[in-house]
Symmetry: C2
Subunit: 264 residues, 2 copies
């Protein structure tokens, strides 16, 4: 197995090439400074519902690119192939996770439409640049994600709950974290909730629905952002016949600089 | 005919009621502080193309709401009816302007999907609040809009040129105008061009394609923003069988406060 000593310094193209040749590794900390995206791909028959769902829930599903039916290329990365260039995919049948693969080529139907959705990893670069610690990175874990009790705005046949990512932030840096992320609406923007997880219907932070549990340091406050895994929860709730997504934490790495998605 | 001494102080509901009962008046300066939107409504068969066109051209077509097929209500205004509550509509057949009406109820097909798109009037409030003069308002005219030589990103069957609105801004306030509008990406954001109109393929500022010509004051610089009339230019280029839009300058007035669309 290949080792990855300095994946942070990989170019996006190098990272995608590694994943294309079979490497399956969470992408947090890879190709630092370049925007990563969530993927949801559905047959053309469901594309309007997904597009409208994203439009109506822009904080959870900020759309950075939509492909034409059957086209695995994306405007976000020169020469990339969305069927192969993510490290891990989830295959969904009738809303049930049917399996995970590292290459989706054989499952990519001829009319698949792929949606690339902004990812909170993008604003992590901005948080770190201002000295806000990222506990999950320090602990070598995937970010913790939770299904909440808040319904998304439905769209056609698609409905489901809001999913959030959580970061433990030192209390005296929470205001900074709000300021920084609020300026990045294309990658989820400001937190949807700060503090008591029960307000979101989350009863045990140590048991995330996606990703890994992350330990708090003394004085940390849990801060919750809308998460691009939300469409996967909608798949589970709405049960379309077929879909392909990224596996949580195993994102697509684009050629876009994170700074492109900062406002003001 | 009713007179409108203080339309700036109308509530959005009062303005909509006036338009619903037949008043046809440009909406600039009406119900100050509340967001106005561009309208494009198409039969369901074309809805995906319009939705994707807006997604791919977010600076020109920032989507604030999309209705379900046939539903004339909008999330942007309690009790409003999109078929009647705009002061003036344009009816399009095969890409040709077939007429203008003040009530679109009789033409609103049972499967129409309506798209509400952010409008630069929203950031005018923010510009005025910082003392930047609005020449078209001072001159009692509609803002000037121009078809450019820049193609939009096409989407399905829909394609066309970028349309811009132009404001003459005192040279020493242009940087402020950029800063203010850049913080409002949901209502077109930063200018797409500053200065020489020929760079956009505009050869005569005195002959706008939509709206009114607006006189410059000495020392003014023309500043161009992406404009929500862009979908109308796409209708003219792409020729879908049927569509209803607002008439340029005759917008829908929502219940949303302009400040909701400011970032940071």
């Amino acid at each position: 197995m290949t080792t990855f000593d300095e994946p942070a310094t990989y170019t996006p193209a190098q990272a995608r090439a590694a994943f294309r040749t079979g490497t399956a590794h969470p992408t947090t900390g890879w190709a630092n400074g370049f925007t990563q995206t969530n993927l949801i791909a559905v047959p053309e028959d469901w594309a309007y519902d997904v597009l409208l769902f994203c439009t109506r829930n822009p904080q959870a599903c900020p759309l950075l690119d939509v492909t034409d039916p059957g086209d695995p290329a994306t405007r976000l990365a020169e020469g990339a192939d969305l069927r192969t260039d993510l490290p891990r995919y989830r295959i969904w049948q009738n809303g049930v996770l049917a399996g995970e693969v590292s290459d989706a080529t054989g499952l990519w139907r001829s009319d698949m439409v792929a949606f690339s959705i902004g990812c909170s990893f993008t604003f992590e670069t901005a948080l770190a640049a201002e000295g806000i610690p990222l506990r999950h990175v320090d602990q070598g874990r995937n970010v913790a994600m939770y299904v909440t009790n808040r319904p998304c705005e439905p769209a056609g046949r698609l409905f489901g709950p809001l999913v959030v990512s959580m970061r433990q932030i030192p209390a005296d840096r929470v205001a900074d974290a709000v300021r920084i992320t609020r300026a990045m609406p294309a990658v989820h923007g400001a937190p949807v909730h700060i503090g008591d997880p029960r307000a979101l219907g989350i009863h045990d932070l140590s048991r995330p629905d996606f990703g890994d549990p992350v330990d708090a340091e003394p004085g940390d406050v849990p801060v919750f952002w809308a998460c691009g895994v939300t469409p996967q929860a909608a798949l589970m709730a709405s049960r379309p016949p077929f879909a392909i997504t990224h596996a949580p934490g195993y994102m697509f790495i684009t050629d876009r600089d994170d700074s492109e998605y900062r406002v003001g």
